[in-house]
Symmetry: C2
Subunit: 373 residues, 2 copies
DNA sequence: TTGTAAGCGTTATCAG
DNA sequence: CTGATAACGCTTACAA
């Protein structure tokens, strides 16, 4: 690959008959600091302009040990949630004169670890990572090596690594509460991957809501094993395999899961919200246009991206050890048409007897909120 | 920002009591070429392993003038079409040991131009660009400067810059033909931004299909001015403002446009496919789950991304001037339920279309929440 | 007010 | 087989 001849400080210095340092100084905006004569300064600037000079960032990076680059490692850029975060991160970085190197870990811890090593070799100034694994040792090592790191979406509660994510617990709580308020009591949770803070917190919120409303937790109503379409599909088939134990409402932990659910329900001729209600995490531009406009828990992706960059720059300025806090971004429940009241559901689905009796039993035990049907 | 102490060739050389060059040579896998003794080679490798040495890519880049980095400039990473391309580009690049720097031009030529300059200063080895403007002068300049460039999605027919995009013309042709085969003759085209090859070619295919079926072209049936939600919304309102001239079918040039259309139609209580048929460019994982599962023209995003990287590497190997060809990726028409026969449409829609007058007055732009589209 | 020179960490050339 | 040494293009003490 032939390279075009680049203009360098040396070129300019020579054609002006002055030294490289002088050129460097005025072009770095330090003419005052070094009290360069306005005349030479002007000459330099003109020549730079004329030749279209742009300082070689590689050389600068080598000398300064700052690349003005941050690595962004996410599990899947074609997932609109991460795409939105990436966009915001890119914008915030650009604002500050930084570039981002995009790394798609394809949901693999191995790839993530490899990328981290590669990015380190590239001397990125910091990394924003949405980690996929259940262990964060490699991230600790990274931080110990002095590399500023911010986690997004998923994090490790026990590790002192700054993170920014949604208020997953309360988001889930709100969703499930909404379902309960519509009379549902057999509510299933289709969860994401085990060991991820995101899935764990959402499950936690689900359980809290159940508890608060006097509904006992039933492990059989928790299904799914990752955030994928397939997981949602399989989980749904399983949940509805026995009519008597089928849920009347579903809480889906992610939009991809939801599509799997939708597909499974369609195949089983179960319709929403007549036969079953559903609330899904993640709101996107198309959720309102789906066959049944979905009630969702919207995450503020822009805010997440923005705070991630902020936390990273705070580390640039104050040092890595000085910042360990996490930030939680509120979610909002967006109500649309995928939730119906239990009454209607029962009528249509026609399996009122068994589930009702169960429900009554639960109510009698410890009912906290007033049930409105 | 304090930097951690990195292991360098020098470190290893010193602790082993040998020269830097030797270390460099074995670690670069050139032990054989330089006939390094297996013993020293082994010692070096061990020490490198032990210390966790990774060659500093910045220094290497400065010396070699190869950064193993490619710049990717796209109009909007949160648009799933571009996200999918980005993903593929990232994967193909990674396969070859390259990183990508992600630049979101936010549909602005100015930002695009600025990014190009910045990426040049960073000495990226090449760029993959989805240009936003109607002029490609800056791209020619870039190529003349010796930088390998590949255009994706949009290109400039008159300029000798390699590109890869869908067979937009035949894709549009197929879509419109399908509409015609369902009996439609008043078919509107909601187009993307003027001057973009993408929109122009799709319009071209639309006109060709019309012509082939003996339908005369009516400029009033072409609406829209960019690929956005708003454009689709406004265009649709306009198209249906006069009952007598309203189309019975719509050909939408992009999925975002389509959502605008969907919203507008919903507001006007026009339903699909009973009242109006629609075929949209772009197929995504959710298109089958929309209120009416959409018939679409699917683009092979993976293939586009893959070929873009290929064309770029061909330039790396053969030189920039040696590759100027474009590649066209076939599209496929995915039939779902958004197209009905004209017969039915007329029957249901009726001659009089009472809702039309209402529509005109109902101009209060009802802001759909703050959903970015 | 300006210049000299020493690096930053690699790689390549030239000598041994 | 191995070692000096000179770049790559920039920044910044230290001189002058």
């Amino acid at each position: 690959m032939k390279r075009y001849s680049k203009i360098t400080l040396k070129n300019i210095a020579e054609s002006l008959g002055i030294s490289i340092s002088t050129v460097s100084r005025v072009l770095a905006g330090k003419s005052e600091k070094y009290r360069i004569s306005t005349k030479t300064a002007e000459r330099v600037r003109l020549e730079a302009q004329r030749t279209g000079f742009h300082p070689n960032q590689i050389a600068s990076a080598l000398r300064l040990k700052r690349t003005h680059t941050i690595g962004l490692i996410i599990p899947d850029i074609s997932n609109p949630f991460f795409a939105a975060i990436a966009r915001q991160v890119e914008m915030e970085a650009a604002k500050r004169g930084y570039f981002i190197i995009l790394c798609d870990s394809r949901d693999s811890t191995d790839i993530e670890i490899e990328y981290i090593a590669l990015l380190q070799a590239r001397s990125v100034d910091g990394m924003i990572i949405s980690p996929v694994g259940t262990s964060g040792e490699h991230l600790i090592a990274l931080r110990n090596a002095g590399v500023p790191v911010v986690l997004v979406d998923r994090f490790f509660p026990d590790l002192p690594i700054p993170y920014v994510t949604s208020e997953n617990r309360s988001g889930a709580f709100d969703a499930v509460t909404n379902l309960v308020n519509h009379g549902h009591r057999r509510i299933a949770c289709v969860r994401g991957i085990f060991g991820s803070s995101t899935a764990d917190e959402r499950l936690h919120g689900y359980r809290e809501a159940l508890k608060q409303h006097g509904i006992s937790f039933d492990a059989k109503l928790v299904a799914g094993d990752d955030f994928s379409y397939d997981s949602g599909y399989t989980a749904t088939k399983k949940l509805f395999s026995t009519a008597s134990s089928a849920p009347s409402a579903l809480f889906s932990q992610g939009i991809l899961i939801t599509f799997g659910i939708l597909k499974a329900l369609e195949e089983m001729h179960i319709s929403i919200p007549e036969d079953v209600s559903i609330i899904s995490f993640d709101d996107h531009y198309y959720t309102a246009f789906l066959s049944t406009p979905l009630t969702t828990v919207a995450q503020n992706k822009e805010s997440i991206g923005e705070h991630a960059v902020k936390l990273l720059f705070r580390q640039f300025n104050r040092g890595v050890d000085k910042v360990t806090e996490g930030v939680l971004i509120p979610t909002t429940l967006v109500e649309r048409n995928s939730v119906g009241t239990l009454q209607k559901t029962l009528k249509k689905f026609g399996r009122d007897k068994p589930s009702v009796s169960k429900r009554n039993r639960c109510q009698n035990k410890n009912k906290i909120t007033n049930e409105r049907v």
